[in-house]
C-alpha cells in the first residue's frame, strides 16, 4: 500500500471524493513528508501548514455537506514565491522583498484556492525568476532529489524539486525563458509552459512582461493537464489574457497520436547537447513512430540566435519592470538616505543580487541612447524570424520535439561564476517564449549518469490539448521512470 504522499493528484482527489481519505489526512501526510525531506531539498521559502490544514478542513466540510467537489479538491499544492498571496510573505527570491506581505491575492492564487487545493507553502526560486538553478535565490539553493549535490534547475526549481521529492503532487511556477520546462527536465517531472496569455498574470510579480507565463508541475501528464485547466482562462484584470474558452484537457487526453506529424528539431540534436540526452530524444522519436506518427527532421535556422535576442529583450523588459523597487511603496529601503537618489541607489544595491543587477544593467544598456536600434530593435526583428521559423514548421508538422535541456542536472556551483554558461541551459526552451507559444517537458528516461532526461514537446499557440495528448501517449507507452533515490528516504 503506497503512502498518501506517493499518490498522484488524480488518485488523491479520487480518494477524497470517495471518502477513503480526508483532505486533512492528505495534507498531513504531505506536511509529514516535507518535515522528513525539506532539510535536504530546501524546496520552500515559506511553509503555510495552518493555512493548508484550514483549507483541507473546508474541503472535508463541503464533502460532509454533500457539496460537489472539483476535480482537484483536496490535492495539496505549492506556489512559486513570485505569486502574490494575501497575508503570506512573497519574496520573489529577493532580499528586496524579504519582508513583503502582499495585501491581495493574484488571480492564479485565487483559482488554486477555489479549486480546493490546500496551499502547503511558497517555493524557492532564482531571484525574480532570473536563473536556471535556484543558486540566485537570496534564501539558499534548492537541491535535486535525484542527487543532492546537483541543482534542481530553475528558476522554478523549488516547485520542481517539491514534486520530485513527493512533497506536493502539483506545484506552480513561471516560465519566461524555460523556467518551468528546464527544472521539470532536471528533476524528472512534467512541466508545462502554456501559451502566452492563457493563464492570468494579475498578481504575478513581473520579470519580462512579453515573455512571462504561469504553468504547472506534476508527476504525470494527466495531473499536469488537470493542474493547468484549474488556472487557465480569461481574466479582465490582465489585459494580455486571451478571451477564449479553455478546453477540458483531461477529457481528451487519451485520444492517442495515430496519424500525427512529428518534427524533430535538428538544431536540438547536435553537438550542443549531451550525447545521452540526444539518444533518449532520438528513442522518443522512434517511439512516436511506433505509436502511428509520421516522424521527420525539421530545421529552425533561428533557434541559436533566439538565445542572443532573448538576452537583450528579457533584460530590457526587466530593467523597466524592476524600476518599481525604489524603496518607496513596498520592500526594503536603505537606512538614513541623504536624498531620494541616494535612497534609490543604496536600496537597490543592497536589495538585489548579482544576477538581477547584471540583467538590469544589460537591459539599461540595450535601451540606452545610441544602442536602442542596434541591440533592442535588432533583437525584436530576430524575434519575428523565430516566429516565422515556427510558423513554417507548423505548416508541415502537428508538433515538434527536441531535448528540453542540453544537459542533465549540473553540480551546485558548477556554473555559478559563469553567467553565459548558465544562460546556455535555456538554449532549447527560449524560442518558445519569444514566439509566445507552448511547450511541455515530459521525462523520457535516464542518461548514462543516472539522471533524468526531459523530452520537450512544442506546439503552436493554444495547442495544449494536443501536446497533453501526445505527452500522455508517450508517457503511457514508455512506462514510469525509476523513483529518485530520495523517494525511499523517510
Amino acid at each position: 500500500m503506497a503512502e498518501l504522499w506517493q499518490l498522484d493528484a488524480a488518485a488523491l482527489a479520487k480518494a477524497v471524493r470517495d471518502g477513503e481519505a480526508s483532505a486533512r489526512e492528505v495534507v498531513d501526510a504531505h506536511l509529514a513528508r516535507i518535515e522528513a525531506v525539506e532539510e535536504d531539498v530546501h524546496a520552500f521559502i515559506t511553509l503555510t501548514p495552518e493555512i493548508a490544514r484550514a483549507q483541507a478542513d473546508e474541503v472535508d466540510r463541503k464533502r460532509a455537506f454533500g457539496e460537489r467537489l472539483g476535480p482537484l479538491a483536496g490535492v495539496p499544492t505549492a506556489l512559486k514565491d513570485i505569486f502574490c498571496t494575501d497575508g503570506i510573505r512573497t519574496t520573489a527570491g529577493s532580499r528586496i522583498l524579504e519582508e513583503y506581505v502582499p495585501p491581495y491575492d493574484g488571480t492564479a492564487t485565487i483559482k488554486v484556492r477555489e479549486a480546493g487545493m490546500p496551499l502547503l507553502g511558497k517555493t524557492n526560486q532564482d531571484e525574480f525568476a532570473m536563473g536556471s538553478s535556484t543558486e540566485n535565490s537570496a534564501f539558499g539553493v534548492s537541491r535535486n532529489p535525484w542527487d543532492l549535490a546537483r541543482v534542481p534547475g530553475g528558476s522554478s526549481g523549488g516547485s520542481s524539486a517539491a514534486v520530485a521529492a513527493g512533497m506536493a503532487p502539483i506545484t506552480y511556477g513561471t516560465d519566461t525563458g524555460g523556467s518551468i520546462r528546464q527544472p521539470a527536465s532536471l528533476c524528472g517531472v512534467v512541466g508545462v509552459r502554456p501559451t502566452y496569455g492563457l493563464v492570468s498574470r494579475f498578481g504575478l510579480i513581473a520579470f519580462a512582461s512579453s515573455l512571462d507565463q504561469i504553468g504547472p508541475f506534476a508527476r504525470t501528464v494527466r495531473d499536469a493537464a488537470a493542474a493547468l485547466y484549474a488556472v487557465a482562462g480569461h481574466d479582465p484584470r490582465d489585459s494580455t489574457s486571451i478571451a477564449q474558452a479553455v478546453p477540458d484537457y483531461v477529457a481528451s487526453i487519451d485520444k492517442g497520436v495515430n496519424g500525427l506529424r512529428v518534427g524533430v528539431v535538428k538544431e536540438g540534436m547536435g553537438e550542443g547537447a549531451q550525447p545521452a540526452v540526444v539518444a533518449r530524444v532520438q528513442e522518443a522519436a522512434e517511439r512516436f513512430a511506433g505509436l502511428g506518427c509520421s516522424v521527420d527532421e525539421v530545421s529552425l535556422p533561428s533557434f541559436d540566435l533566439a538565445l542572443s535576442a532573448y538576452y537583450l529583450i528579457a533584460p530590457a523588459e526587466c530593467s523597466s519592470n524592476l524600476a518599481r523597487y525604489d524603496g518607496v511603496r513596498y520592500g526594503y529601503r536603505a537606512d538614513d538616505p541623504r536624498d531620494v537618489m541616494d535612497m534609490n541607489m543604496r536600496t537597490r544595491a543592497h536589495g538585489f543580487g548579482d544576477e538581477v543587477k547584471r540583467r538590469i544593467m544589460l537591459g539599461t544598456y540595450a535601451l540606452s541612447a545610441g544602442y536602442y536600434d542596434a541591440y533592442y530593435g535588432k533583437a525584436q526583428k530576430v524575434r519575428t524570424l523565430v516566429i516565422r521559423d515556427f510558423d513554417a514548421a507548423y505548416e508541415k508538422f502537428d508538433f515538434l520535439i527536441c531535448p528540453t535541456s542540453p544537459t542533465t542536472a549540473f553540480k551546485i556551483g558548477e556554473k555559478a561564476d559563469d553567467p553565459l554558461a548558465m544562460y546556455l541551459s535555456d538554449l532549447f526552451t527560449i524560442p518558445t517564449n519569444l514566439a509566445g507559444s507552448t511547450g511541455i517537458s515530459v521525462p523520457c528516461g535516464l542518461a548514462d549518469d543516472g539522471l533524468p532526461v526531459g523530452l520537450q514537446l512544442l506546439g503552436p499557440p493554444l495547442s495544449e490539448e494536443l501536446l497533453f495528448r501526445a505527452g500522455y501517449a508517450f508517457e503511457q507507452d514508455l512506462g514510469p521512470l525509476p523513483d529518485p533515490p530520495l523517494w525511499g528516504a523517510r
Binding site: V101, P102, P103, Y104, Y196, G197, S210, S239, T240, L305, S308, A309, Y311, L312, S319, G327, V328, R329, Y330, G331, Y332, R333, D339, V340, M341, D342, M343, N344, M345, R346, R348, A349, F352, K357, R358, I360, M361, L362, T364, Y365, A366, S368, A374, Y375, G377, K378, Q380, K381, R383, T384, L385, I387, P419, L420, Y423, L434, A435, G436, S437, P461
Partner: protein
C-alpha cells in the same frame, strides 16, 4: 565588445545601482562577455523584417468606465517602508527657499 569602466558606471547610475570598485570591475568583464554573445543579432540581415514587441496581436484592451472595488488606501500603504497622513513618505525632494 569590451565595456569601459566609465560605461559600466554610467549604466549603473542610469539603473540606480550604487556600486563598489570591485563590482564595477567584475560586472565589466561579465557584461562584456554576455554582450559579445548577444551582439550576434546585429549581424543578421533583417531589412524587410518588422519588429515583434509582443506575441499577441492585441491593441487597446478597454473596459467599461465604471468604478470597481480596488485596494483601500490603508492596505496600499500597509507595505510602505514609511508613510504619514495617508501618503508614502520619502526624503525631501524640493529644497527650502
Amino acid at each position: 565588445m569590451a565595456l569601459t569602466r566609465e560605461e559600466v558606471l554610467h549604466v549603473a547610475r542610469l539603473a540606480r545601482l550604487a556600486m563598489s570598485d570591485d563590482e564595477v570591475e567584475r560586472f565589466r568583464g561579465q557584461l562584456s562577455a554576455i554582450l559579445e554573445h548577444a551582439a550576434r543579432v546585429t549581424e543578421v540581415v533583417t531589412d524587410d523584417v518588422p519588429p515583434t514587441s509582443h506575441p499577441l496581436p492585441l491593441v487597446n484592451v478597454l473596459r467599461e468606465d465604471v468604478v470597481e472595488p480596488s485596494l483601500s488606501q490603508e492596505k496600499s500603504l500597509s507595505t510602505a517602508p514609511e508613510s504619514e497622513d495617508g501618503r508614502f513618505k520619502v526624503p525631501r525632494i524640493i529644497e527650502e527657499q
